[in-house]
Structure formats: structure tokens, C-alpha cells
Amino acid sequence: MSANPMSPNPAALGNDEIQRYSRHLILPEVGMEGQLKLKQAKVLMIGAGGLGAPLGLYLAAAGIGKIGMVDFDVVEMSNLQRQVIHGTADIGRPKLDSAAERMADINPFVEIVKYNTRLSSENALDIFKDYDIVVDGTDNFPTRYLVNDACVLLGKPNAYGSIFRFEGQATVFGYQDGPCYRCLYPEPPPPGLVPSCAEGGVLGILPALVGSIQATETVKIILGKGETLSGRLVLYDALNMKFRELKLRRNPECPLCGDHRTIHALIDYEQFCGIPQQAAEPEPEAALNEWEIDPRGLKAKMDRNDPVFILDVREPHEFQICSIPNSVLIPLGDLPKRVGELNTADDIVVHCKSGMRSAKAVNFLKTAGFTKLKNLKGGILAWSDDVDPAVPKY
């Protein structure tokens, strides 16, 4: 460390800061003026997961003065394939702690503020108001709309990115009279129609590229240089390595940012997205309904040699990972055309990974005239937890 490592003056750089940011300082588009703008900037990251990983690493390295992070998850083994800000030793720790530690190691000159909470209509405006730019790295529709609405209401730009399997989207919303997320998509899809990453998978490297685009746009907005993605949607297809660009327009009829606004405050986003209200604390052991069986119940049937037909409605590649003994695979999508392979006289237990697809299968089979049906509650994950830990969880 030199004599003047970091200047406490936000309008000056200490000697160590000058050394650290030298490759920025010699870029005419950044220079001392730009680097000081970065030092004075306050950026809020929503989520410290797949997109948050590259965002946190690069925004810290770039010398953003204050970085806020909102997240309430803990690091899990299955995160590490893509959330490179966390390490194996961090499993079980809050993502915020793990990410903040890594960022502080990359750049101790950055102030990191941790919001260990679920972002909600009650706290969003209060958290957002202290920041210049919000970077949306969330993983679900209610939070997407919440972040968008809060940004537009407060007049803050939103560097947006989204990922699915091999495909990414990125743009900037709510910047200089540009469009917002509601201009692009007035309404969310109903739950269940679009598979989530947990159901559909995601290439581990994909968020690196999309998150880097978001970080780049954030830095450009702070610097006031270049042309931002506002009004343009970048589509990235990793499988074919293709980038495309679509025009985005502010929708004059947008209820949030259009000419005749009807939304002036945050709403209930779970309800907006058609998601049933969840109890604040999940009930420890919700009772089974008449169409459900739990893993221990199924195991007891099998142990008694009761005749039971176990129908697995997952995909073939999931069946390859693990399966319940003597189960028969018919993927949910194939069920309508293969329903003839099932017998209404059999006692049928349907299962999938966690119980959602099998619940759909049970509903479908009910309409097809089946009555001796049970959905395996919690799916093969619960089977692994309660009956056979040798079955791997994925």
C-alpha cells in the first residue's frame, strides 16, 4: 500500500486507486473524470445468483463506489455450476455474505451494502431510493414486475437481463423516456405455462455473458458514454452462437409509463402473476389430500407388495439421473397420446421431480376417467429425503 491508498474524498482518487484503475484511466472514454463518476455511483443489484455473480465481480472490480445487493438465499451445491461468485466452501452460507466477501477481496475500495430480505412492495421503494441504477438479476416474474415498476416510479434506469437454457435477453428499461418491461410484456405468463430454470435447466456459462452485458450497460450509463441498449432488446442464442437485436418502443398505452398512466404505486405482484398467496412460514407438514400420497406411504405399499403402478412423468434425461424402482416413464407431454398404455383398474401413483408436473398429470388422468390415482407428494426429491437417500437429488 502506498502512502495515500484510497482517497476519502469521493471527488479524488488515492494512489492505490490510480494504480488499480490505470487501464480505465488511460481509456479516453473513462479517464479520471469517468473513474470518479464510477466512484460516486451507487448501483443496486437484485439477486446474487446466476446473473448476480458476474455483475458483482465486475461492478466491484470496476470501482463502483457503493453496491447494494438484495438476496435471501443460501448457497447450494447446484448453484456452483453457474454462480461463480460463490465457492464450494460457501455451501450453506447466505449468498450475500459469500458474494460480499469475494467482492471485498476483489476491491476493498467498494462499499457493499447487504439487504438480506425478500424484495417486496413494502420495502422496494425504500431500498431503491438510495441508488442511481438498478440491475435486475432476479429469477421470477413477480420480482421482475416489481423491480420494473419501482424503477419507473422512482425514475431509475433498470439494466435488465434474463436467461433460459441456452438463450438470453438483455436491455435497459426506464432510461431517458425509453420503454419499460411492461411496454414489452404487459402481462406475465400464467404459472406453469413457461418452465422455470429448475425445470428447464440452464447452461452454466450463459449468465456470465448476459450478466456482463448488464454490467457493461450499467457502467456506460454511469459514464454517459456510448449508446445504451435502451429501446433495443438483445437476444443471445448460445447454442447457435447468434446475437440478434429487436426494436423496443415505449408503449403509449403502457399503464405504468404510457401517456395515460393508471399505475401510481406498487401492487401485489404475486397476485398479478397469478401465484397463490403463500403463508409467511411454510407449514411444516401440510396434510395430504385424497389425491396425494407421501413417499413413506408409497414405500409401505411397496413393502406390503400391494399392486401399484408407479408412473414417472419426467423427461427421459431426468429418468437417466435417477428413478424409483419398477416405475414406468411416460413424459407429461406424451401422456395424452400414450394414455392407452395405462389401465383404469390399476392403483396408479404418479411422480415427477417435485410434484408439480405429476399434479398436472393426475388432473389430466382424472378427466380421462381414471379414479385410482395418487400424486407422490414432493416427487422423487421427497423420496430421496424420506425413503432412499441413495437416490441423488438434482
Partner: protein, 94 residues
């Protein structure tokens, strides 16, 4: 011939393909042909009333058809129609 770009979440309904070519003179006709060849896709793109769902956007080249002539937007040889649904990225919320 119009080329339809199929996004990742919907490829499972078109035998895993990323593009489908159909003979059509308007965007509406192209989507109609696409969904009659691949019937499972229909409910993902259209509501029960036959309206394009509000979380699915359709682009003619790089322009949103909502700002052209919607389903009546004419297509010419070499045009590309893109279906762009909203994706959230991440995990279970419900």
C-alpha cells in the same frame, strides 16, 4: 416462404427445431400455419379466444408487429418472423 424463429422454451413443440419455414403472405397466416402443423404450440401462443398472449411478442424482422399491422402485417420473401416470449430465468416461484 417466411422463416419463423422459434425460441428455446417453445422448441419442444416443434420437434426441437429453432426455425420453421412456412408459405404465407401475412404474419397471422404464418402463425396459423405454424400452429396447425404443431397443435401443442397453439395454446402457448394464443388465448382461448384466439388472441396472441400478452407475454408473447412477435417481430417482423426487428420490428414488433404491434407497431406494424399486427397479424395483417405483410411478409415478403426473405423476411424473418421471431416469436419472443418473456423468460424470467431462475427457479420455482410457486
Amino acid at each position: 416462404m417466411a422463416k419463423l424463429m422459434i425460441p428455446t422454451p417453445l422448441r419442444q413443440f416443434v420437434d426441437g427445431r429453432d426455425t420453421v419455414e412456412v408459405e404465407a403472405s401475412t404474419v397471422g397466416e404464418a402463425l396459423d400455419k405454424l400452429t396447425s402443423q404443431h397443435t401443442e404450440l397453439r395454446r402457448h401462443l394464443f388465448s382461448e379466444e384466439g388472441k396472441l398472449r400478452s407475454f408473447v411478442n412477435v417481430y417482423m424482422n426487428d420490428e414488433d408487429i404491434r407497431y406494424l399491422e399486427r397479424d395483417k402485417t405483410a411478409i415478403a420473401e426473405g423476411d424473418t418472423i421471431s416469436i419472443v416470449p418473456s423468460i424470467a430465468g431462475g427457479k420455482h416461484v410457486g
